[in-house]
Every structure is written in C-alpha cells, then in structure tokens.
C-alpha cells in the first residue's frame, strides 16, 4: 500500500511539475510573442543604450559617475566657464544668483540661491552636467562638474575649503533648506 501510494504521489508530483513547466513555457512564449503589450511595437533596450542615456542623478547619489573635484579647481572652472553669466563670485549675475541669500526667504525680498533654497546637493550634478554652461551644455567633464559644485558649496558656506566632492561625499552634503518644502496643500484659499 505504502509503495503504491508513494509512486502515486510521485507521478502526481511529476505531473504537476510538468504542467507547471508547460504553463511557464506558455506564458514565456506568449510574453515574447506579445512584445509591446500585444502590439509587437518597440524593441528591448540594450544595457549599453541605457547607460548612454541614463544621465540623471537622484538624491541617493544613484547615477553619479566616478571622478572628483576640489574647491580650488572649481574656482578655476567657474571663472573660465560660469562667471560670464553668474558673476565672479556667483552673486553679480546677470543670470541666476547662485551664492548667498540665506535667511532671506521670509523677507520682502527673498533671494533664492543654491545656499538659501536648493534642498539637495545631488541636484547640482544632475543640472550642471546636463544643462550648463548655457552656451555649451554637456561639455564639462565629471571632474569639472564636481569641482564647480565644490566651489559653489564652499562659497555658500556649506562645505569647508579643503572639501573633496565625489560620488560618495556629494549625497552626504546637508543643504541648509533641506526641510524648506511641503507637499502641495492646495486648495488652500478658502472660497466665500
């Protein structure tokens, strides 16, 4: 009885196993036959393609490349490639003011800069790397981007003069206005 029962169970298990493999195969082939949600449109992106396009940097530091920069190097990069629009110390303009303004957000003339307003230091990499300098976006090397970030954070009193900015240190930088944002509470204006 026992032997019979065991072999019954065994063949049942084999049967279930075969069915499961068969079903999995069906789903797998159905999956590949219905590429693009059943429309068969588009193709799988290769890892290489994704690497080339995947330029964003998030607050965790995901996306930051290797390389590094110092305040001293950043001063040179800024003077050569940024000062023409942002002024020699990042305060003169004519374009966005980048330095100073801390303590002004509640005043009649709030000055929104990296130091007074930006909540995440990683955003500097994401933005400068993709969009700056305005006349030659995407032209800075990772070392140049890290350097100019180091200089801007130093000018804003956020890091020390000997700071080295890289993929490890940048996400650790605490921005003064990190807690300055609240989720959209609207509708916030009572109607009569």
């Amino acid at each position: 009885m026992d032997g019979y029962g065991t072999s019954m169970r065994k063949s049942l298990l084999i049967g279930i196993g075969t069915l499961a493999i068969g079903l999995a195969w069906c789903f797998w082939t159905a999956g590949s036959a219905e590429e693009g949600g059943g429309y068969g449109l588009g193709r799988t992106a290769t890892d290489e393609e994704i690497r080339a396009w995947n330029i964003d940097v998030s607050p965790t530091g995901e996306g930051l490349p290797s390389g590094q920069g110092t305040v001293k190097q950043g001063a040179q990069v800024f003077a050569a490639k940024c000062a023409m629009c942002h002024g020699p110390t990042g305060t003169e303009g004519p374009k966005d003011r980048l330095v100073g303004g801390q303590g002004t957000l509640t005043t009649a003339k709030p000055v929104k800069t990296i130091g007074s307003y930006w909540p995440y230091a990683t955003t500097l990499y994401d933005f400068i790397n993709r969009a700056m300098p305005f006349n030659a976006p995407g032209s800075l090397s990772p070392d140049e981007v890290y350097s100019v970030i180091a200089w801007l954070l130093y000018q804003n009193g956020i890091v020390k003069e000997d700071a080295v900015i890289d993929a490890r240190t940048l996400p650790l930088v605490q921005m003064p206005n990190r807690n300055g944002f609240i989720p959209d509470p609207r509708p916030d204006v009572p109607s009569r």
Binding site: E35, G36, G37, Y39, L41, G42, R43, T44, A45, E49, I50, W53, N54, I55, D56, S58, P59, L105, T106, P110, K112, I114, Y117, W118, P119, Y120, T122, T123, D126, F127, R130, A131, F134, P137, G138, G180, F181, I182, P183, D184, P185, R186, P187, D188, V189, P190, S191, R192
Partner: protein, 437 residues
C-alpha cells in the same frame, strides 16, 4: 517677375497673386534655377508686406491659386509677444535675445482652440531641431523590460485625441507685483493655450514595458539643450490621462511645443509636460531635479515652499473688452475664457461693478474637462466708469478667488499659480485698463 517692374493699376494685391502663380509654375516644373529662387524669395516680402492694397473690387480680379501650405490673410496681424519672466519687458525689441517665452494674443482669438502658430512658448535653452527619423523614446528603470520606441512605432499604437488647455504655472506672474502696469490680457494671461492633442496613452506604453512593484514616480526628460527633466507622480489620474503626444491641432506638434514628441498631462502645470521627450525612467521616489526644487516651487510667507504643486486651479479672464482696448458706448458682448485643471468649468459669472453684483454668463459648448471654456454675456456700455470681472467655478465646487483672498494666504513671492479674479477698469472715455480692484 522682375522686381523693378512698374506696379500695375491693380497694385500689390494683384502682384501678390501673380507672384504666387509664378512660383507655383516653377514649383510644378521643378526648376531649381536661380531665377526660381529669386521669384520665391521675392514672394516673401510681398506676402508679409506692411501695406497690402486690395483691389477695388475683388469680383473683377482673378484671385490667388492654391498653395502647398496655408497662411492667414495678410490683413491679420495678431501675434505672440515675447518676454523673459517677471519684470522683464514684453516684446520683440532690444530684449529679444533674452526672451525665453511668448504670450498668446487671447484678445484676438475666437472659440476655444489656439492656432498652433499662436500657442504660447516657454523653453529652457531654445527650440531644438530634431530629426524625427533619429528620435527615440527610451522607457526604463523599474520596468520588467526596458524598451526603445521610434516615432513610427509610437504612431502605430492605438491613438487618442483630447482637446485640453496647457498653462504655464508662471502665467500671470506679474500680477503678484504690487503695481498694475498698463497690461493687455495677452501680457497678463497669455501663457495659456488650448489644442487638440493626439498621441498614445502613457498607460499603453507602460503595459508594454511592464511596471514593477514600487514604481511610483517617473522621470521625464527632453532632448533640448537644457535636457529639461521633471518627476511625474504615477497617480491614478496620471495613469488614466497622461499622453505621449505627436499631434497638435491635426498636424505634427510644432517645434515650440515639442516636435516630434512630448508628454501631456491634462490640467498640470506647463513645465511638467516635457517637450522633445526622449526618456521616461520609473523609480520609487521623485528625482528632485532643478526645475522641481529650485524653480517650479511656490514660496510662502513663512519661508516654506509648496512642492509638486502640479494642478492648475480654476481661473477665468475677460478677453474682450480687456486691457488697452478702446470701447464705445452701446452694445458689447463680454467674452472670456474659463478653465480648471481639476475638471469641467460649471459656472462663469461676470461683474461690471467691481464684484458687488454678479450675473451668470453663458457657457459655450463644448464644455470639456481641463479645457478652455468660452463664456459670453451681452452688455451695454453707458459711457460711465465700470469695473469688469469674471469668476468661475469648477466641478469640484472650487471658486476662483479674489486677488485679496489669494494674497492673504500665499503672500506675493510665490511667482507661480496666480489664478485670482482679473479686473479691467473701463474709463469714461472708453479706455480699458488693467487694475487691481
């Protein structure tokens, strides 16, 4: 046609018609000769001539022939006006090289649809020139299968069309300022436009790639010189309504509106409707890009800022009579636009006495959700001073606030999302001015 030929008795209008015949014949003959080029280039200044003299009797002169791509009548001059943010002068003069946006001439438009050529613009480092054959959309991140789509492939997916407004969150930004310059409605409200948008639903593409558990945000990135990127919350509303668009008002998107591909999120602030779209990346948290942290956030009097303030709240404005117009005593139809990012406009009211009394205006069909809605009210100007206002209510019951109510809560430093009731003062001489009332 030789340039020095003496104008005929029929004047420039007949010349214009004949030029077009000449250029058409050459076009048909396929002659790419210097003479042909000369004729074509000569045609341009005539077409845009400052003074167009029509024939005395258009019934006695043969008219112009068909042409490959239409243009409006040379008598119609309505145009966008350029600008560069709060405080900067509006126009195309000396400041033109600094302009990064342009306002729609709402005072000149009929109905609800904005002609594509007059749709407002905002770009962050110019309008890119993109070869559609080489353009691709990559969807990756928290998906089962990262995929790349060509424009042809995206156009083959089931298509959807929707008429909806698109408004820059900075529309009316100058109205936070304490003084009230002699603005037109174009200056005050021209960063909103309505189009028929056509494309594929975002959800269709997300089904294709397979969204992984935990994916609650999506980075959208453009292929302009700013590489403009924004994080989009994958809410039910977004999943149901978001579109990847390639069509605008029946033809391909205009370059200024994202040719060949843009994200469209009905009811959401313009900036997040990323143009020249090249990449969507799904993630578990917002990516905290420059635009959604340091720029498109609304600073409140207590120093805190609203973040991801995406919906454009209900707003309305009288487009006629409006700022810098001159009206005369007698009959006028007060006309305006109302819209809400939360759904349909259910009511538009008009006051001619600065908000003391209100009358319901007629809403003109179609009344579509998240779309400009035209309202109309007959009015007789009696030559006395008047203050014209409109206020709208949307399907959620939200009522457009007065400027005082808005400023009481938000102060005057938030730059974005100004949606208060607009006042036009009509003076005794019929002159209409932008005022705070």
């Amino acid at each position: 046609m030789p340039r020095n030929e003496k104008p005929t008795a029929n004047g420039p209008a007949a010349d214009y018609a004949r030029d077009r015949m000449v250029s058409r014949r050459r076009f048909l003959a396929g002659t790419v000769s210097l003479a042909g080029l000369a004729a074509t280039t000569m045609m341009i200044p005539r077409l845009h001539a400052q003074e167009v003299k029509p024939p005395e009797d258009p019934m006695r002169v043969p008219g112009a022939l068909p042409r490959p791509y239409g243009d409006r009548s040379p008598f119609v001059k309505s145009a966008r006006v350029g600008g560069a943010g709060p405080g900067a002068p509006h126009g195309w003069g000396e400041n033109a090289p600094n302009n990064f946006n342009s306002w729609t001439p709402l005072q000149d438009l009929h109905g609800i649809v904005t002609p594509s050529s007059l749709h407002f613009e905002r770009h962050h480092n110019g309008v890119p020139l993109i070869d559609p054959a080489r353009h691709r959309l990559l969807i990756h991140g928290l998906v089962n299968r990262p995929m790349i789509f060509s424009l042809d492939e995206l156009e083959r997916f089931p298509a959807v069309s929707r008429i909806a407004f698109l408004e820059c969150s900075g529309n009316s930004h100058d109205l936070w300022l304490p003084n009230a310059p002699d603005f037109t409605v174009q200056d005050t409200h021209g960063l909103t436009s309505t189009s028929e948008w056509t494309g594929v639903k975002l959800s269709t593409l997300l089904e294709a790639v397979g969204v992984q558990r935990g994916a609650s945000w999506m980075l959208a990135e453009g292929s302009d010189a700013a590489g403009m990127d924004r994080s989009v919350p994958l809410t039910d509303e977004v999943l149901q309504e978001a579109m990847i668009c390639y069509g605008q008002n029946g033809e391909a998107l205009r370059p200024e509106q994202g040719y060949p591909l843009r994200l469209f999120l009905p009811g959401y602030e313009g900036n997040i409707n990323v143009k020249w779209l090249r990449r969507l990346k799904l993630g578990a948290a917002p990516f905290m890009t420059r635009e959604e942290t340091s720029k498109y956030t609304d600073l409140m009097p207590d120093g805190k800022a609203y973040q991801f303030s995406l919906v454009m709240e209900a707003k309305s404005v009288i487009t006629s009579p409006s700022g810098r117009q001159q009206i005369h005593p007698g009959f006028h139809e007060i006309r305006g636009l109302a819209w809400s990012g939360r759904g349909r406009v259910t009511k538009a009211e008009v006051s001619v006495d600065g908000g003391r009394t209100w009358q319901p205006a007629r809403l003109q069909e179609p009344i579509l959700p998240k779309c400009h809605t035209r309202f109309l009210l007959p009015w007789r100007c009696n030559g006395q001073e008047a203050v014209l206002q409109s206020r709208c209510t949307d399907e959620t019951g939200y009522v457009q606030p007065t400027r005082q109510e808005l400023v009481k809560v938000r102060g005057t430093k938030s730059v974005f999302h100004y949606n208060a009731i607009q006042s036009w003062g009509v003076e005794r001489d019929g002159r209409v001015r932008h005022i705070y009332a």
